[in-house]
């Protein structure tokens, strides 16, 4: 299972980086979203993978998974949303003011 998750993290990173390097604002925003998935999964996986041991005390389970990466990732997801929202608005503003959606604000010559 671990190898599967590692491959998925790698795949999401590759997709994110590829989109990040595109010339238009919208794919770049999507790329950052992919990168967020990858980073969040990566951080989460740092607590190792455990099945069926949610960190809720008193559930009668023999043990619990590491709660700290989960707490870190939880806020990261929300902040990631704020970042995506900010970027997409920036893209809208740039499109309105510059008349194009190229990341450099002008079409390539």
């Amino acid at each position: 299972m671990e190898i599967l998750i590692a491959i998925l993290i790698g795949l999401l990173t590759a997709c994110g980086v590829f989109l990040l390097l595109r010339a238009r604002t919208f794919p770049v925003v999507l790329g950052l979203t992919y990168l967020s998935y990858a980073v969040n999964l990566y951080l989460f996986a740092m607590g190792r993978l455990t099945v069926g041991r949610p960190p809720v005390i008193g559930s009668g389970l023999p043990g619990y998974t590491d709660p700290l990466p989960q707490a870190l990732v939880l806020t990261a997801i929300v902040i990631g949303f704020a970042m995506t929202a900010f970027l997409i608005m920036l893209a809208l503003k740039a499109r309105a003011e510059l008349g194009n959606d190229h990341v450099d604000g002008e079409e390539e010559r």
């Binding site: 299972m1 590759a14 238009r24 190792r48 455990t50 989960q70 503003k93 990341v103």
Partner: protein
């Protein structure tokens, strides 16, 4: 505990603020309050000084960051008292003088505010017990002197001079920081008391040499020692009151203060005497020689200041206790006569409209009284008997002569010193003769006359001091000198006899030679001036500085141009590549990619889900130019990610990811409406291939890293165990993730919701006044459905709303003990409300819901912060939580934790920020809807064909 020294230092800073306000009530009010503030600081100093006068050292500490050795610590001993007295005393005179010096056009309030800032910084330097704190004030003197030197900001030479002073002294400050850190490393403390007592350890330590070199760099740049002296003459572009203050008693004296302060810790080695003594002697000579040839009145004084600072440095370099006493004595004397001379020069400049000594001649006839004052001060600078300058210079000569037999080539010292003395007499004579006699003035812009009485008063006081100290040294200066020298040496002060007559000794003969030689040199100056003209500018440290500066700027510009060609794609590619190179470099360290942890078995469902995610992500990426499809696939990826969280025991994360995904997809779709529906093809050939390689390598690296960690057992589970075992007992909640968020790491969460709120407000600000044009049809050219709000959807979402809100409240309340909490509940509420906007339209929803989300966000932040502050009120640290059990009728036992109030704050901020963003984007939709032509953009058709 007493804070008196802290208050002394703080007073001028507060005063600077006050002046900035008071100056609107006129020049008189500004001057009076500046003087009053200085007097207040003097009063506090006198009040605090009582124990110091009897020989104690006053140390006042307040804990700030004791773990890092950082305390707010002040120290008052003899040396600090002397310097604080000079700073405040001469500061007061300068304030009075500046009132009459500055013309009506210049803002007196600004000058006073800067002057007080500088005064406070200097006080901080001389009263600091902690060296890091001393450095902070040291840098503040650099900054505030920058403001002072550049006071006439419309003049280019003022801006240049200010920048040069800042660059040189700022660079020195950086070196000093390094030196102080090394000292702290050696002694284990930044407290002066410790450092001054561990001289033996410091000098024997292997880090002594680098520490000494760095600290001396700081001191030498500040005190304008050769070869860093060049900034000082350029700082003469400042108004003369500023020069009188900075270059007599304060700024440049900070460097020699540091030498004196650290004298017991650093002196007494070969390195010290060679470096400090050598640099001091070189500066003494260079300054004295150049001073003679300066035609600018202030230029002459500037180089004379350099020379005298060299003299003081040389005395500390000689290193004997008596030399240190003489050094402290000359600090006092130089401050007094040089402040007087600068003020006199300012009067002359003020009255004549020029400072060129080739034009200013024969002023005796116009202003005999000022001339007398200036002549006395200049005579003191030359070292004429009966004046204070003579006494310390004589002590210096005696020390230099004493060194003659102490070492090989020791005889050079008295020789060089005497030559410098000859030049000092010659330039002082020039100041007197050229300005006040030597024929008639040449073509002066104004007819000079005596200045107003109040402008002369500071000079009178200073000249009177010159005479008093010069004639009756034992009665006037000896007590404070003994006190200060004792603080410098940290041992009992050696026998010293401050008298005019010491008998026929070598020092006397050196003085006589200097006097006669100086007169002779001045008499024969004409051919020398010719010689100087020929060689002028041949050796100029300023040019080296300029070339260095230009070189550095050119290098930076060239590098930036090469790196940043205005292309974000290029920068991003470089960034990722660089990270890859670093990662590869670190990865080749011989660490195995695989560890020994037993992997979990792969089941068929998981494999299928993983394949689905991979397919969605790859398709979304490859077909990213069809933007709508890409958004839908991104949403699918997000949903699968939340499934991964479900599988691996993270219910909170799954809920969060799920709700965020919904909001994100809505947001992206709303935004896509205003953007082109597809991306045009890449224009540069080969870019795709390049990016695929970079992306694949990045994916390989991150995936490999993830595998390397996942295949190993955790190295350390202490943190996890701590949170798991303290969650119920310490935080009163069973859901450990939530307890970490709202309790253990509550401060982090407070920061994060603040960021969320800020992002919301920033988006709001960005969208304001933004007008976007929507499109009338979709990418394929189909016109939108006229029925924007289908009835079935509208009624269904209305029915669902109370249920959804109930769920979100439930999630919020149970969050402390079961998966849920403020973040998730906030997102669920936001989704429920956004559904109303989508289904019923913004206008309909606006009539029923408050449109303004700002109060909601504000309330959330206030509640979260308020929970933290409440714990302060109960005497606990910020954000300490408490909990208890409450028995409600019917409901039964109910646990209530203060952290739940915090979670409510989180909830409100999340709801507010999310809605703020989406509602305003939705409003723009409404505004853009109208009878539009269905324009199919060029790029839309491009990918279809």
């Amino acid at each position: 505990m007493s804070f008196s020294l802290f208050l002394v230092t703080l007073t001028p800073f507060l005063g600077a603020l006050l002046i900035a306000w008071v100056c609107r009530f006129g020049r008189y009010a500004a001057a009076m309050s500046a003087g009053g503030i200085t007097l207040a600081a003097i009063g506090q100093l006198v009040y605090a000084a009582a124990p110091v006068v009897s020989g104690e050292t006053l140390i006042q500490q307040m804990a700030w960051m004791p773990q890092a050795g950082l305390n707010l610590a002040f120290r008052l001993d003899g040396l600090g008292l002397l310097f604080a007295g000079l700073i405040l005393g001469i500061g007061l005179l300068v304030i009075l003088y500046a009132r009459y010096y500055l013309s009506e056009r210049d803002s007196l309030g600004r000058l006073y505010a800067f002057l007080l800032l500088f005064m406070g910084s200097m006080l901080g330097v001389v009263l600091s017990e902690n060296l890091i704190q001393l450095l902070i004030f040291w840098e503040l003197t650099s900054l505030s002197s920058f403001l002072l030197i550049g006071y006439w900001r419309e003049r280019q030479e003022a801006r240049h001079g200010a920048r040069m002073a800042l660059a040189v002294t700022g660079a020195g400050g950086l070196a000093l920081l390094g030196g102080i850190l090394l000292l702290g490393e050696i002694t284990g403390s930044y407290d002066l008391s410790v450092i001054l007592a561990s001289g033996e350890i410091i000098r024997a330590h292997e880090l002594y040499r680098p520490a000494l070199a760095l600290i001396l760099l700081g001191a030498f740049t500040k005190s304008a020692q050769f070869p860093f002296h060049f900034w000082l003459p350029h700082a003469m572009a400042a108004p003369t009151p500023v020069s009188a203050y900075l270059h007599s008693a304060t700024m440049v004296k900070a460097g020699v203060f540091l030498l004196a302060r650290l004298f017991p810790a650093l002196s007494g080695t070969q390195e010290w005497s060679h470096l400090v003594g050598g640099v001091g002697i070189a500066t003494l000579l260079v300054g004295a020689v150049i001073a003679l040839f300066k035609h600018d009145l202030k230029g002459l004084l500037a180089y004379s200041t350099i020379s005298h600072l060299g003299l003081i440095t040389a005395l500390f370099g000689i290193g004997t206790p008596l030399a240190a006493v003489a050094g402290v004595f000359h600090i006092i004397n130089h401050a007094i006569f040089k402040a007087g001379l600068f003020m006199a020069a300012g009067i002359i400049d003020h009255e004549c409209g020029t400072r060129d000594m080739r034009r200013i001649n024969g002023l005796w006839k116009f202003m005999p009284y000022t001339a007398t004052l200036a002549m006395v001060a200049a005579a003191s600078m030359a070292g004429v008997p009966l004046l204070n300058g003579f006494l310390s210079k004589e002590m210096f000569f005696a020390e230099a002569a004493g060194m003659a037999t102490m070492m090989r080539f020791g005889w050079i010292l008295p020789l060089v010193v005497t030559v410098a003395g000859v030049f000092a007499v010659a330039y002082s004579l020039r100041f007197i003769h050229d300005v006040f006699f030597n024929g008639e003035p040449v073509d002066l812009p104004r007819t000079p006359h005596e200045p107003p009485q109040w402008m002369k008063l500071p000079v009178e006081i200073l000249v009177a001091l010159c005479l008093l100290v010069g004639i009756l040294p034992a009665l006037t200066v000896d007590p404070i000198l003994t006190l200060a020298a004792g603080a410098v040496l940290q041992t009992p002060v050696p026998e010293h006899n401050l008298a005019l007559w010491h008998g026929f000794n070598p020092a006397l003969w050196m003085s006589v030679i200097a006097m006669l030689g100086g007169v002779a040199l001045y008499a024969g100056r004409k051919p020398l001036f010719g010689l100087h003209r020929e060689f002028e500018g041949a050796v100029d440290a300023r040019r080296v500085y300029d070339r260095l500066l230009h070189g550095l700027l050119a290098l930076a510009t060239a590098f930036t141009r090469w790196l940043d060609r205005g292309s974000l794609q290029r920068m991003a590619a470089l960034f990722v590549t660089f990270a890859l190179v670093l990662g590869a470099y670190g990865g080749f360290g011989g660490v195995a990619w695989s560890g020994a942890r037993a992997p979990l078995p792969v089941d068929a469902v998981s494999l299928l889900v993983a394949l689905g995610l991979a397919a969605a992500a790859l398709t979304g990426t490859l077909l990213h130019r069809q933007r709508f499809l890409a958004v839908v696939l991104t949403g699918a990826v997000g949903l699968v990610v939340s499934l991964i969280f479900v599988k691996f025991s993270a219910p909170d994360l799954a809920l969060t990811q799920l709700s965020v995904e919904v909001v994100t997809v809505i947001l992206l779709l709303l935004a896509l409406y205003f953007l082109p529906q597809s991306s045009p093809a890449e224009k540069r050939p080969g870019r795709h291939a390049r990016d695929i390689v970079i992306a694949a390598l990045a994916g390989l690296g991150v995936g490999g890293l993830a595998w390397a960690v996942l295949s190993r057992p955790p190295a350390d589970t202490r943190l996890a165990d701590y949170f798991l075992s303290n969650s119920v007992g310490g935080g009163g909640g069973h859901n450990v993730v939530n307890v970490i968020l709202v309790d253990f790491r509550g401060f982090d969460t407070l920061g994060e919701i603040t960021v969320l709120a800020l992002a919301g407000f920033a988006i709001y600000a960005m969208l304001e006044k933004l007008r976007l044009d929507g499109r009338g049809c979709d990418a394929a050219g189909r016109v939108w459905d006229a029925d924007l709000h289908p009835a079935i959807m509208a009624s269904l979402t209305r029915l669902l709303l109370p249920l959804a809100l109930l769920v979100s409240v439930f999630i919020l309340l149970r969050g402390h003990n079961l998966p849920g909490g403020g973040f998730i509940a906030g997102l669920v509420t936001a989704v429920a409300l956004i559904m109303q906007y989508l289904a019923n339209g913004v206008a309909w929803t606006h009539d029923r819901l408050p449109a303004n989300m700002h109060p909601l966000i504000g309330a959330g932040l206030a509640i979260a912060t308020g929970t933290g502050l409440a714990s302060l009120a109960f005497g606990h640290p910020f954000l300490t939580s408490t909990f208890g059990h409450l028995s409600w009728p019917l409901v039964g036992d109910f646990e209530l934790a203060s952290a739940m109030a915090f979670d409510l704050g989180v909830y409100l901020v999340v709801v507010g920020s999310t809605l703020l963003v989406l509602i305003h984007l939705g409003l723009m939709h409404d505004a853009s809807h109208g009878p539009q032509a269905c324009l199919i953009e060029e790029e839309d058709t491009a990918w279809k064909s």
